[in-house]
Amino acid sequence: MNEAAQRIWHPIASSTDLPFRHTYHGQLLGREFAVWRADDGYVNVWENRCLHRGVRLSIGINDGTELKCQYHGWRYANRTAGCTYIPAHPADAPARTICNQTYPAIERYGLIWSAEAPVGELAYIEVLSGSAVFPLRGIAVNAPAKLVMQKLVTYQFQPSGQIKGQTATSQLLSSSDDSCHLAATDGAHSTTAVFFVQPVDAGRSVIRGVLAETPADDLKRPVLYHHNQLLTALREQVEQEFSTLPQPAPFAPVIAPPSAPTLPDIDFDSPSPRGRSAPLRVQVSKKWMTALDIAAFDLVSITGQLPTYQPGAHIDVHMPNGLIRQYSLTNGPGETDKYTIAVKREAASGGGSLCMHGQVREGDVLAISEPRNNFPLRRDAIQTVFVAGGIGITPLLAMSRTLHHSGLPQTLHYFTQSRDHIAFPEILGTMAATVQHHLNLSPEETAGQLRGILESYKPAMHLYVCGPGPMLEATRKIADDLGWPEPAVHFEYFKNTNEIDDSSQFEINLARSAMTLQVAAGKTILETLRENGIELPSSCEQGACGTCVVDILEGEPEHHDVFLSDGEKQSGKRLMTCVSRAKSNRLVLDI
């Protein structure tokens, strides 16, 4: 019955209802909203329910970038409403499909407007086109919008310039089902007002008035007082009348089930898009040299809202020259209006960094994949240690910014050649107390520093490392020597420099697809699958990023990747289809 009304934009809150880091409970046609403004100014209007157990998000915590549910601490990102963290499973990246229902929001005339299924744009109102509109206080009425509207068209008030007078006449300029334009005139003074009625529920409304002109400073309070008094009287009259009428049943809005993975696949590793697809189109809105030889790129969407990312996530960038490269997102939490990546110019480039540095310019359009997170950040550490070498700062910057925003204990150790090589100094400067720079050290000096940094391991500490291969190897070795257990050491390589011997031949048995395939010498498992019509998600295709991982049910793998830890490799439970091979004649894979 509300379908027509659901298509119409209505005010659901006043701008002043959304002060710093507040969460507001809004309602329209029976549907509840959690309404909150992020620190970047964006107004979020969401279904008022955590996807997990249905707790109202309007009692959640607005931390300026994300909304955190009170019940289990699930976090949802600004703009996308995608879940970024599930504290009960700190080691896992939540599936991208766990995303709350969002509704459009427009802030205009001092009001927040939304609609369940709006048709068309929110129309501009001519009399409110000036910059000096003056919103009145919202007046909640326990009566249906229609009844309120019937009274509102006869509303009599004084023009702001003659607020103490009593002889004004009000004229109805126009009216519709949910708004009316009135003009009050008293002598030479005249004020135009527009009143909107927000249908909260079947028997509840809010009157939201806006004057076309802001009164002089000394008249603001008398004008607000005047309207408050008159609208309160109107409210009492309407409520009195409504109490004699049959009371309508409250609206029962349908809450759509979440699009999240359903039983029995409640695991986090929900399928990513197949293959190396690049469904997103982004424009380079800004390109700048953030450090010597390091170019940074802001990428904004030209195909709708960018998907949710978590710290540690990377995207595939499909370059104009046909190459595909992986870059970590450096964004802080809730920075969902753009992706920011950084590319180091490599002398021995295979063409990727040269293309990004030389060819790609501001305004260019690139195809990118959705973000994938194979390097998730735990947020349950008593102390997190980040070790970044050079361009390895990129995923760790996103992680460190996340912990910094939540005030979680951490130190970011950043090893660079010189001050000029420090990327994103302006961001690092905002969290100076957590950043330690290590400049121009030899490998031996670096090792010495690392021994100092890693000397006092305690349970529930976690280490994240990203940087050039030799430094990463050294860090892992030192951590191991100093008693860091393998599960507390998290790493990401830029690339796999292992020599891969692909001369073996073996059989793969696909348990779920009931297929047997032969992997020939010189072919990878991934290629063999693809040739037989089975598209696994993949990204770097050189054994570094972890996207194409599959579970092994039977057989002994031969690992060539740099993604799995030594313990994981020994356990023989997973392999990377892009590089791993078999020691046994046959592997049974969970595909």
């Binding site: 997990h52 157990r53 601490g73 499973h89 080691a91 039983l263 409640i266 349950d380 529930a460």
Partner: protein, 291 residues
């Protein structure tokens, strides 16, 4: 007395013909008339001079079965098929076996049972008592449906800063959760003093109607190092922290469709509970599943 349109009478025979705790006997003054509701039905209670209770359905004006057990008054609206739950540790003399203060909640009793099974909320709702950030991980545990048709979750562990009134400092606490009947749940928790024995807390949930319940806790704590008032105080503190969250769950009834909400591995016991309810066709206080 009229019923709210959304609140129907119970059509689940298993619930109508079962016992439900409706009051802590200590709160029922002798020779006074008390009123409550059970499964949407208004009931009149009376405790006579010999402390014997009687009860009557006010809608039909007929007497119904009542019995006192564990310090609570139990009623059955229909024909009882079995006695109230059996609690062996209630007979152990080295335990405080006390009622924990009944708490009314404006939410389905099934949601209240599910919350009782849930460890993931400890650091957020029972901060500094049953959990504390950043220790938020719910380690894997086992869930099964036993031969007695109960849901049993074992090997549950969670880091708690103050695991019980006698606990000093934090440690990994071990729990066992057991759902005896649709509206009856209990937990066993490692005792901080006698580490080989467990304290137990039973929750007898009174389904007042589909969207209201009263939680009646029954506590069996080892007496070592703790007095009965402290046991009760701790329970009331914990429950008062849960109440505002439970009353902000939408919808108020428990959805049994697995797609209605988003379970994670930590919710294995609640997934099992919802499925177990669905398989027994329990609909009172639930939103039945289409599949």
């Amino acid at each position: 007395m009229t019923l709210h349109p959304k609140i129907s009478r119970c059509a689940d025979p298993q619930l109508v013909n079962d016992w439900h705790s409706v009051a802590d006997m200590a709160t029922l003054a002798t020779k006074r008339i008390h009123q409550t509701r059970l499964l949407g039905v208004p009931v009149r209670l009376e405790v006579h001079t010999n402390r014997q209770p009687t009860a009557q359905r006010m809608d039909l004006g007929i007497a119904i079965d009542s019995v006192e057990k564990y310090g609570f008054l139990w009623l059955c609206l229909g024909t009882p098929q079995r006695p109230p739950p059996e609690i062996p540790e209630a007979r152990e003399t080295d335990r405080h076996c006390v009622t924990g203060g009944s708490i009314a909640l404006n939410v389905s009793g099934l949601r209240t049972v599910e919350n009782f099974l849930d460890m993931g909320h400890f650091p957020f709702i029972h901060t500094d008592w049953l959990g504390v950030e950043p220790h938020t991980e719910v380690p894997p545990y086992k869930v099964e449906i036993t031969a007695e048709n109960e849901v049993l979750a074992t090997e549950c562990t969670f880091f708690q800063p103050v695991a019980s009134p006698t606990a000093k400092g934090g440690f990994m606490v071990e729990y066992v959760y057991r759902i005896l009947r649709p509206y009856t749940v209990c937990l066993y928790k490692s005792n901080p003093v006698q580490t080989s024995r467990m304290d137990s807390i039973y929750l007898f949930v009174q389904p007042v109607d589909e969207e209201n319940c009263v939680a009646h806790p029954f506590l069996c704590y080892l007496k070592d190092g703790i007095d009965a008032p402290t046991v009760r105080w701790f329970m009331q503190l914990i429950f008062a922290q849960d109440k505002p969250i439970l009353e902000n769950q939408l919808p108020k009834r428990l959805p049994l469709d697995p797609r209605a909400e988003t379970p994670i591995r930590a919710d294995a016991s609640s997934i099992c509970y919802r499925r177990w309810l669905r398989d027994q066709n329990i609909s009172y206080g639930a939103i039945p599943s289409a599949i």
